[in-house]
């Protein structure tokens, strides 16, 4: 119970340069943090700080050059490309920057996809998927193909595609980055609403400080390359949060300043 759900210890990563003499620079070095169960953790960093790389490593999609990733007190294999288990047996969900919806599947079929490959598709899970679609505001678009959906709708679909199979941890890589401000705010609200339904553990990466404060229980600040934790900030704004008006909250200003200072 006191044991954190996910622990990162001394993580290090550098990319192998194949044809050059000088060794590649370290992208991540000596990164250490932990995530508790049910926590909504936001991670902020400047561009190029290796945020996506960090998530790729946690999700077992990329190898690390050193350090440890412990999930539920077990060490995950992160140094051997052949030993990688993407998604760690469906215990880690990953919502990426590009929605990566399968173009040949309708919205409903896309949402059902993880259930299909996990062999968990039945009447009950199907109903749950349909309910999620409606909750996400995609009701009526079940039989549309991705190219017929708007950018915001595709993001929603990608989001509930991960939610539908209930992984205990969900990684999110700037999922709302490419959207306009209105849609982004709407989706942030939707995300919090969906998170409340199941109290999952979420690691949410962003470069937007306001977004990090609005969504998270805690925020970590990544430094520039080689990235390490530059600061940890508990977000003391009580839930439920008013995403649209978060900036007007009295504690927002100080938090914002502190975080921004660390980002320099």
């Amino acid at each position: 119970m006191e044991e954190p759900l996910l622990e990162i210890r001394g993580l290090a990563k550098r990319f192998a340069k194949r044809y050059r003499r000088e060794p590649a620079p370290w992208v991540i070095q000596d990164l250490t943090f932990s995530v508790s169960e049910g926590e909504f953790l936001t991670i902020i960093g400047p561009s190029g700080a290796g945020k996506t790389t960090l998530l790729n490593i946690i999700a077992q999609i990329d190898v690390a050059s050193g350090g440890e990733v412990r999930f539920q007190s077990q060490c995950a294999p992160i140094d051997d490309p052949k030993a990688l288990q993407p998604g760690l047996a469906c215990r880690i969900g990953y919502v990426t920057q590009d929605d990566h919806l399968l173009p040949w599947r309708t919205t409903l079929q896309n949402v059902l996809f993880p259930l299909t490959v996990q062999g968990r598709l039945n009447a009950e899970t199907r109903t749950r998927a349909e309910m999620l679609i409606r909750t996400a505001g995609l009701g009526g678009f079940e039989n549309h193909y991705p190219h017929e959906l708007s950018g915001g709708m595709r993001k929603r679909a990608a989001l509930i595609r991960t939610l539908v199979y209930n992984p205990p941890v969900i990684l999110m890589d700037e999922p709302f980055g490419a959207l306009d401000a209105q849609t982004r705010t709407q989706l942030q609200e939707d995300l919090l609403r969906l998170w409340n339904l199941g109290k999952k553990t979420i690691i949410f990466v962003t470069h937007d400080i306001a977004e990090a404060i609005a969504l998270g229980d805690r925020t970590l600040v990544l430094s520039r390359q080689p990235s390490r934790i530059a600061g940890k900030h508990a977000i003391t704004i009580p839930r439920p949060r008013d995403v649209r008006g978060i900036m007007t909250h009295p504690e927002f200003g100080a938090l914002y300043q502190r975080i921004r200072a660390q980002l320099q």
Binding site: F15, R18, T52, T53, N56, I61, D62, V63, P81, L84, T96, Q97, D98, H100, D173
Partner: protein, 272 residues
């Protein structure tokens, strides 16, 4: 690094020297295997069905030395060249002509496109009826095939010329002929080269197949005549020479293509 980049990074094997050696070795092995299979099937199936590879080589050498193979090859190539020139010339000229008559073009275009669906080889008996049994029907066949390839490419190429460039040239005072020469021709060169790469080998193939159907000379005649005489060695020899010829032309075109485009860095080449 995005998800896609990380995935590609982990999935793509490094181009190590040893892999390239393995590939080359594999190719040599496969070629040897195929030759062996040829030899074995010659022994098993009998000389009527599969000619012995050694005999085929001997026949090719003998025919080359006696000059008959060179004669046949020359005949076929001459046929291809003349037919190619005719079809190519018309295939280039006609689109330029049609460019000046847009209403006629719009009226005629569907019929031209529909006529692409007619298998040109099917017209050969008709050509034989009309033009006799000499080179004429074969020239028509080759010419038509080349014409369609070149015409469609040049037509599409002309259509895709940047209107802005034409307008600019007009404003600068260029006459229609000068515009055609300078702007349009250069813009459609990539399309034209892509068409050439298809049309040249096709011209040779067409000549050979035309010779299946009519005539008494050429590689195609050699193949078909051998078949009718159950001279399997001759059939194989002819096919080997014909295939080598077309592949050589292909290879030549690829080399020329690379050379020609080497000093045109901005020339986009259409992949057909």
């Amino acid at each position: 690094m995005t998800l896609r980049e990380a995935a590609i990074d982990l999935d793509t094997p490094a181009p190590v020297r040893s892999r390239q050696h393995a590939v080359t070795l594999g190719r040599v092995a496969l070629a040897a295997l195929l030759l062996l299979a040829w030899k074995l099937s010659a022994e098993m199936a009998g000389p009527l069905y599969v000619a012995d590879p050694i005999k085929v080589v001997q026949r090719i050498v003998a025919d080359t030395l006696s000059g008959s193979l060179l004669r046949d090859t020359y005949v076929t190539l001459r046929l291809s060249a003349i037919g190619f020139a005719l079809g190519c010339g018309l295939g280039i000229a006609l689109p330029f002509l049609l460019r000046r008559l847009p209403r006629l073009t719009a009226a005629v275009e569907p019929y031209i496109m529909a006529s692409v669906g007619i298998p040109k080889y099917a017209l050969v008996p008709l050509f034989i009826l009309w033009f006799g049994i000499d080179d004429a029907p074969k020239l028509w066949l080759v010419g038509l095939l080349v014409f369609y390839v070149v015409f469609i490419a040049v037509f599409a190429g002309i259509r895709s010329v940047d209107r802005g460039l034409i307008d600019m040239a007009r404003v600068a005072g260029a006459a229609e002929a000068a515009i055609a020469r300078e702007v349009i021709w250069n813009s459609l060169l990539p399309f034209f080269f892509a068409a050439l790469k298809i049309a040249l080998p096709r011209a040779v193939s067409a000549a050979i197949i035309g010779e299946f159907l009519v005539g008494n000379e050429g590689l195609g005649y050699l193949i078909e005549h051998s078949r009718q005489n159950f001279d399997t060695v001759g059939v194989f020899a002819g096919i080997v020479v014909a295939t080598a010829l077309v592949l050589a032309i292909n290879a030549l075109l690829v080399t020329v293509d690379r050379r020609v485009n080497a000093w045109r860095p901005t020339d986009r080449h259409m992949q057909v």
